[in-house]
C-alpha cells in the first residue's frame, strides 16, 4: 500500500533524466569513432542529421504510445496489429534490447580493461550486468529514483571532462568546418551512428506511466539538445587534438583524448579513470532500463511469468553471450549489423502501427 495514495506516474522531467542516462551510456565509446569514420569533412552535419531523424522517430513513437494511454508499446502493438504485431515488433525489439545490453556491457568492460584495470579478469568485469539486474528488481520507480542520483553525480563529471578537454585544441585541424560533399551518405558507418539516437525505444515499457504519452518526444528532445554539445565534443575534441586522420585510426578516440589532458593545477592526472567511473553509472541505469523493457515485453505475451525470474534469466543469458564476444572489433561489427533492425524499429514499426490504426479508424467511421 502506498499511504500517499499516489499512483505510479512518471513526469516528463523524469523521462528526461532517463533519456540523459541512456545518452550517457551509449555516446562516448563507439560513436566518436563511427562519426570520424563516416566522413572526411565536416562532422556536425551527420551528427545533426541523425539528431533530427531521432527527433522524428521519437515523435512517431510518442504518437504510438498515445494510441492507448496507460499501455506499453508491446500491448499497443498486440492490440493494433494482433499476433502479427507480436512477431513484427516484440520479437525484433526483444532481440535489439538484448543485443544492445550485451554489446554495451562488453564495450564498457573492454574499455575498463584497456584503460584502468589491465590485470582484472574480464569475466569479473562482465559481471557488472548483475548490478543492472539488481536495480531492475526494484521496478521502474526504483530505476527512476536511482537515475536522478546517478545523473547528479555523473553528468557534472561528463561536462567537467568535456570542458577540460578544450584546453589544448588546434582549430586548424578541424577544417573544413562547413563544407560537405555528402560522402557520409554512402558510408555504412553513418547509418550505424543511429544507435545513439534510438534511446526513445527504451520508453517502450515505461511510456505507459506518462500522464501525456503524446508529449514523450519532448523529454527526448531536451535530453538530445543537452547531450548534443557533449556528443559533438566527443567527436571534435580528438579530431582537433590528434588531427582527423590520426583520430580515425584510434580505437577509442575520446578516451585517447582524455588520456592526453594534463593540467599542472589538476590533482587528478588520469582523467580516463574519472571518465570510466562516471560512465559506469550511466551503464547501470541503461542495463536496468533494458532489463525492464525485456521483462515487460515477455510479460506482454506471457503475463503469468515471474518478473524477477525473467530479469535473472535475461541477465544470465546476456552474461553468457558477453563471455562469447572475442574482441573489440567484433563489437564494432555487431553494432553495424544491428543497423537494419534498429532502423526498422525506429521508423518502420511506429509508421506501421500508426498507419494500421489510421486505416482502422477510417473504416470504423465509414461503417
Amino acid at each position: 500500500m502506498n499511504p500517499s495514495n499516489e499512483e505510479q506516474k512518471i513526469s516528463l522531467p523524469q523521462y528526461f533524466v532517463l533519456q540523459m542516462m541512456v545518452f550517457g551510456a551509449i555516446s562516448f565509446h563507439l560513436y566518436p569513432w563511427l562519426v570520424l569514420q563516416s566522413t572526411a569533412q565536416s562532422y556536425w552535419i551527420p551528427i545533426l542529421i541523425w539528431m533530427l531523424l531521432g527527433l522524428l522517430g521519437a515523435w512517431l513513437f510518442s504518437r504510438v504510445l498515445a494510441l492507448h494511454k496507460g499501455k506499453d508499446a508491446y500491448t499497443i502493438a498486440k492490440r493494433v496489429l494482433g499476433w502479427p504485431g507480436v512477431i513484427l515488433f516484440i520479437v525484433p525489439l526483444l532481440w535489439f534490447m538484448w543485443s544492445a545490453m550485451v554489446i554495451v556491457v562488453r564495450a564498457h568492460s573492454e574499455m575498463i580493461s584497456m584503460t584502468i584495470l589491465h590485470s582484472t579478469p574480464q569475466w569479473f568485469l562482465d559481471g557488472m550486468i548483475f548490478i543492472g539486474v539488481f536495480l531492475a528488481f526494484g521496478g521502474i520507480g526504483s530505476i527512476i529514483r536511482a537515475s536522478v542520483l546517478f545523473l547528479l553525480v555523473s553528468f557534472p563529471l561528463s561536462v567537467g571532462l568535456v570542458l577540460l578537454g578544450f584546453g589544448d585544441l588546434n582549430v586548424n585541424l578541424g577544417k573544413p568546418w562547413l563544407y560537405t560533399n555528402g560522402d557520409f551518405l554512402t558510408s555504412p558507418k553513418f547509418y550505424t551512428t543511429s544507435f545513439v539516437w534510438a534511446g526513445y525505444l527504451y520508453y517502450a515499457a515505461c511510456g505507459k506511466y506518462a500522464e501525456h504519452p503524446k508529449k514523450l518526444w519532448r523529454p527526448y528532445t531536451v535530453a538530445a539538445l543537452c547531450f548534443l554539445p557533449l556528443l559533438a565534443a566527443s567527436v571534435y575534441q580528438p579530431a582537433l587534438t590528434f588531427s582527423p586522420e590520426m583520430s580515425r585510426i584510434l580505437t577509442l578516440p575520446y578516451i585517447s583524448k582524455m588520456d592526453s589532458v594534463s593540467y599542472y593545477w589538476l590533482v587528478i592526472e588520469n582523467l580516463t579513470a574519472v571518465f570510466i567511473v562516471s560512465s559506469i553509472l550511466y551503464l547501470f541505469l541503461l542495463l536496468a532500463l533494458i532489463m525492464n523493457c525485456i521483462v515487460t515485453a515477455v510479460r506482454a505475451v506471457f503475463p503469468s511469468w515471474n518478473e524477477k525470474l525473467l530479469c535473472v534469466l535475461a541477465g544470465i543469458t546476456a552474461y553468457a553471450a558477453i563471455r562469447l564476444i572475442p574482441s573489440w572489433e567484433w563489437i564494432e561489427r555487431a553494432v553495424e549489423w544491428d543497423t537494419a533492425l534498429r532502423l526498422y524499429l525506429m521508423y518502420g514499426f511506429p509508421i506501421a502501427v500508426l498507419a494500421k490504426s489510421f486505416i482502422s479508424n477510417k473504416m470504423r467511421s465509414r461503417q
Binding site: 499511504p3 499516489e6 516528463l12 523524469q14
Partner: protein, 482 residues
C-alpha cells in the same frame, strides 16, 4: 467516601454474574507481593474493597478515616477519593488497570469493578536532550512518561486539529502507544497504514521505540533506519506541521517520526532556527562529511594500491614514502586502523564519562603514535582514519552514524578489489538499495522520483528559500501539488 457520590458510583457495580471479580483478581495476582485488597467499609451490597499494586499507586489519592468502634476497636473507612475520573470495567479491564497503577473498587460479590485513576508513575524531570544537543532552540526533551510527552507536544501545538490515536502493544507489557497527526495536514492513508501496522503487532513486549519501529515497518531495510527517532518536542511539532505522523511510546523518551527519508537524517532541528545561508552551509558540511566518512579510507586504498596513476606523481610518491617499512598490504593496514578506531569509539560510548576521556587519550594518542613507530601503519593512514572518525561524529542522527560505520567497510572492500571503480560500484549499489527502500509505504529517497511523499519540500541539502531549493528543481513540479 462522600455519600452522594458514592451511591452514584456504586450503582454501576453489577451483581448479575456468578463470577465475582474480587476472588478472580486475587487469584490472578496470587503471588504478587505488592498486590493489596483492602476492605474499606460496607454498603448495602456488602463489603467494599480497594484492589491495587502498592508499588504503582500514589498515596495522595485516598483519604482514610479511622473510626472508633464500640468495643475499643478501630475501623478504617475510605473517606474520599481524589482523582480525575473513574469508569466501570470487567475482569479483563480491571486486571489491566491494576497493572497500569490504577485502583479497582469492588464489592465482595460484584461481577465488575470501578477503576479509579490513582497511578503515580515514576519519572525524572525535564532535562536537556541527551542525543540531540543544539546551541539555539528549546532546551528540554521528552522523558520516559507518555502523558508528560503528550503534554509537551500539546503545549507547543495548541490546536484541536492535533489528533491522538492510542493503543497498547505487547501481550504481556501492555505498553501504551500513541499515534499523533494533524487533521487536514497528514495523509489519511498514512494514518490508516500506521494504525493498521500497530494493531497487527503480535509480540509479548516492546521495550523501546527502536524496537517498535522494526515491528511497524517490517518490509524496511535491515540496515538503514526506517524513520527518524527524536527526543525533541520542537522537532516533533515541526514534523507534524510537515504532514508526518509521530508515534509516542510509554517508557522511552524517543518518539518516531514517520515516514522517514534518507535526507531527513542530515537535518538538525537547529537548521530551522538559523539564517538560511548558515543552515545551508551546515547541511552541506554534514553531507560532505558523510562523503568523506564513507569514501576517504577507500580512496586511500584505491590510489595507493590499485589506481596508483590516478593521482599526480608527487602525491603518489609521498603516499608510497609514508608507507616505507610497513609490511602489510594497504587494505589490511586500513582495516586494522578502522577496526581499532571503532573499538575506541565503542569503548568511549559504553564507559562512564570520567573514564571514557582516558580511553580516548590512550586509544587515540598513545596507540596512534605507537602504531606508527612500530611500522604497523603509515602516518598518512593515521591522518585518514582520524579524519574519518571526526566526520562520523558530525552525523546528526545516531542510528545513521552507526550505519555509516558499517558502510565504510563495504566501500573499502570494493576499493581493495578494483580501486576507484570499486568505490563507484559500491556507491551505485548503495544508491540502488536506497532507491528500492520504502518507509511506511513511501519512497525512502523522498523527495526524489515516483512514490515520494507529496508534502515533502526539502532535499535536506538545500533549505531556506524554496526557489533556491534543489528539490524545487529535481522534484519536477511535484511540490506544487498539495
Amino acid at each position: 467516601m462522600e455519600p452522594s457520590k458514592g451511591t452514584t458510583m456504586l450503582q454501576q457495580l453489577q451483581y448479575t454474574s456468578s463470577e465475582f471479580l474480587l476472588p478472580r483478581l486475587q487469584e490472578a495476582f496470587r503471588h504478587a507481593a505488592d498486590f493489596q485488597a483492602v476492605c474499606i467499609g460496607e454498603s448495602d451490597a456488602g463489603k467494599l474493597y480497594l484492589l491495587y499494586l502498592t508499588t504503582l499507586v500514589g498515596s495522595d489519592h485516598f483519604l482514610f478515616h479511622l473510626n472508633r468502634q464500640p468495643k475499643d476497636g478501630v475501623l478504617t473507612t475510605l473517606h474520599s477519593y481524589y482523582g480525575t475520573s473513574y469508569s466501570a470495567g470487567d475482569f479483563s479491564a480491571c486486571e489491566k488497570a491494576v497493572c497500569a497503577g490504577k485502583t479497582v473498587l469492588c464489592s465482595a460479590e460484584s461481577a465488575n469493578g470501578l477503576i479509579l485513576d490513582t497511578e503515580n508513575p515514576q519519572q525524572r524531570g525535564l532535562q536537556q536532550p541527551q542525543t540531540e544537543n543544539v546551541i539555539q532552540g528549546p532546551m528540554y526533551g521528552f522523558i520516559e512518561n507518555y502523558q508528560t510527552n503528550i503534554g509537551l507536544i500539546r503545549q507547543r501545538m495548541q490546536t484541536s486539529r492535533l489528533k491522538i490515536w492510542e493503543t497498547s502493544v505487547g501481550d504481556l507489557t501492555n505498553t501504551k502507544v500513541g499515534v499523533l497527526y494533524l487533521d487536514g495536514v497528514t495523509d489519511p492513508g498514512l494514518v490508516q497504514y500506521t494504525c493498521g501496522q500497530l494493531n497487527a503487532i503480535q509480540v509479548d513486549g516492546i521495550q523501546d521505540s527502536g524496537e517498535l519501529l522494526r515491528f511497524m515497518d517490517p518490509g524496511s531495510s535491515r540496515l538503514f533506519p526506517a524513520a527518524v527517532t527524536t527526543e525533541r518536542p520542537d522537532r516533533v511539532t515541526a514534523s507534524l506541521l510537515n504532514g508526518k505522523i509521530v508515534v509516542l511510546m510509554d517508557g522511552t523518551p524517543f518518539s518516531i517520526i514517520a515516514p522517514g527519508s534518507f535526507f531527513d537524517f542530515w537535518e538538525s532541528p537547529e537548521d530551522q532556527y538559523l539564517t538560511p545561508l548558515i543552515a545551508l552551509f551546515l547541511r552541506w558540511l554534514r553531507f560532505i562529511a558523510l562523503m568523506i566518512n564513507l569514501f576517504l579510507p577507500a580512496l586511500y586504498v584505491a590510489i595507493t594500491s590499485v589506481n596508483i596513476d590516478l593521482n599526480r606523481l608527487e602525491i603518489s610518491l609521498a603516499a608510497a614514502g609514508s608507507r616505507e617499512g610497513v609490511p602489510y598490504p594497504v587494505w589490511i593496514e586500513s582495516l586494522i586502523m578502522l577496526f581499532l578506531l571503532d573499538c575506541i569509539v565503542e569503548a568511549g560510548i559504553r564507559l562512564p564519562r570520567s573514564i571514557s576521556s582516558t580511553v580516548t587519550m590512550v586509544g587515540g594518542v598513545v596507540l596512534g603514535q605507537a602504531i606508527i613507530q612500530a611500522n604497523i601503519v603509515s602516518n598518512l593512514l593515521v591522518i585518514i582514519v582520524a579524519t574519518t572518525a571526526l566526520t562520523n561524529f558530525i552525523v546528526v542522527d545516531y542510528q545513521m552514524g552507526l550505519v555509516q560505520r558499517i558502510l565504510k567497510y563495504f566501500v573499502l572492500t570494493g576499493a581493495s578489489v578494483i580501486g576507484v571503480l570499486g568505490i563507484f560500484i559500491c556507491f551505485a549499489i548503495l544508491v540502488i538499495c536506497l532507491s528500492r527502500l520504502q518507509s511506511f509505504g513511501v519512497s525512502y529517497l523522498t523527495p526524489i522520483g515516483p512514490g515520494a511523499r507529496i508534502r515533502s519540500m526539502s532535499l535536506g541539502l538545500i533549505g531556506g528559500s524554496r526557489k533556491f531549493s534543489l528539490s524545487y528543481w529535481i522534484t519536477f513540479g511535484r511540490g506544487s501539488r498539495q
